[in-house]
């Protein structure tokens, strides 16, 4: 992927991701489905100026939804669980 700014879509803030963060300095992002682990690592390191220890990814299948008479499917997406090196933090996920 040419542009690192296209890799990371948005942070994932849920109960589960908060638990991960507190347990092992792991933060979660929704990422471009075609992004690879090395690309995600590079993007996070460059954009947030932190050191990344490990990246795990999960392809999340979109849910089937029914809205009135219309049935549909939400898009599949890729979640990346990024383990930061000790001492690294990203401001957004911290308490002010």
């Amino acid at each position: 992927m040419q542009n690192l700014y296209e890799v990371i879509r948005r942070p994932v803030v849920t109960e589960k991701s908060t638990d991960l963060k507190e347990a092992g300095n792991v933060i979660a992002f929704e990422v471009n489905r075609r992004a690879t682990k090395p690309e995600i690592k590079a993007a996070v390191e460059k954009l947030f100026k932190v050191k990344v220890k490990r990246v795990r990814t999960i392809n999340v299948p979109g849910k089937h939804v029914t809205l009135g008479r219309n049935r549909g499917k939400r898009s599949n997406w890729k979640k990346a669980l990024v383990t930061l090196a000790q001492g690294s933090t990203i401001e957004f996920f911290e308490n002010r």
Binding site: V12, V13, T14, E15, S17, T18, N95, R96
Partner: protein, 435 residues
Amino acid sequence: MKATIENLGPWERKIAVEIPADEVSETVERTYRELAKGVRVRGFRKGKVPRTVMTRMYGDQVRNEVIQALINRTYGETLRTHQLEPVSEPVIEPEKLAEGQPWRYTARLEVRPEVKVQKWEKLALAQTEAVVDDAAVKERLERLAGMHAQLVVEEGATRLARGHFAVIDYEGSVEGTPFEGGAGKEVTIEIGSGRFIPGFEDQLEGMAAGEAREVTVTFPEDYGKSELAGKPALFQVTLKEIKKKVVPAIDDEFAKDTGEFENLEALRAKVSEDIQRELDEESRRTLREQAKGQLVAENPVEAPPAMVEREFRSAVESTRQRLSTQGVDPERLGLTPEALEREWRPRAELDVKASLILDQIARDRGFEVTAEDIDAFLEPMAREAKQRVSTLRAAYEERGLLPVLERRIKDEKALDLVLEKATIQKEKSASDREK
């Protein structure tokens, strides 16, 4: 909680309150717990939102709530323990709140100043003891007769003159065209009253009943309708009738006509009694004002500006309301904002001072206001409004005005006592000042 009080003047205090760190933390914690029960955040089940997330989303709100809660809890307590009696809303300056740190705020407020009553007994007062004299009764009777006057048509070849009432039809035009409100039929105007356009009444003088005349006048520059102001106008006037005001003779007949009186003597007695009552009331009021004035002169007190302001405003407001129900514009009576400021404010200040002194006297004597006192105070008002005392009291209670009322009554009681202890020089005076 630690609180220190600083005296900034006889009536101004600065309170500095410090709340220990653990009390702050505890309050913050409780506020978050309360909040957590209700908030919904995407990605979290209700009630499962972690503190870190809530802090990010609701931190400011929680801080403000905590500040409010802490002030509510400690401010009243501080006033009680230091026996401060505020007369104004406090100006509160909170420090920035940080969890795990003690938190401080300061409040500036005006309090009831300490009053040292030095002299309240043996005031030397002068009271005029008014006596009704015949002239006043006569004048009042004449005024009464004037109100019962009737307009009677003058027969014969009378010419219209000053003091007459003319019944006219008229039609006015400006530059040849009639204008709105410029015509009237069977309108009665008093010649010489000056209520019409200047010159109009004068030009009618000398007319006989049935005669028609053309009258030319110029509207004044400051006339109410701007499109007519300063313009010359032509009026076609027909005089229908000449009337004269006939004032009834003051005799037994008149007494019977005015109401339930047997003869003139009974009416005269009633009038005399009325005047006497008014004068007595007036003299009572002046005496009380005089006593208040002396109390203020003899006992130096400082009036907190907030109290003066409140007194001033309520006086202005009640007058304004009374006038507006009568349909009078206060400005026309010379009650411009500047004049009020100049004349009523010192008066409000005097009232506040007098009230502070009287309140202190009442406290020193341990006066209490009982339910009977309140009822007795409301009784005359109730009678005037044709309501029951209990209804009136309920109305006061509902609006939370009972404490105000109680203070008034207390002041009155204290003033009664002051008057009791004063030496009052009685002066006789004729009622001729009554106008």
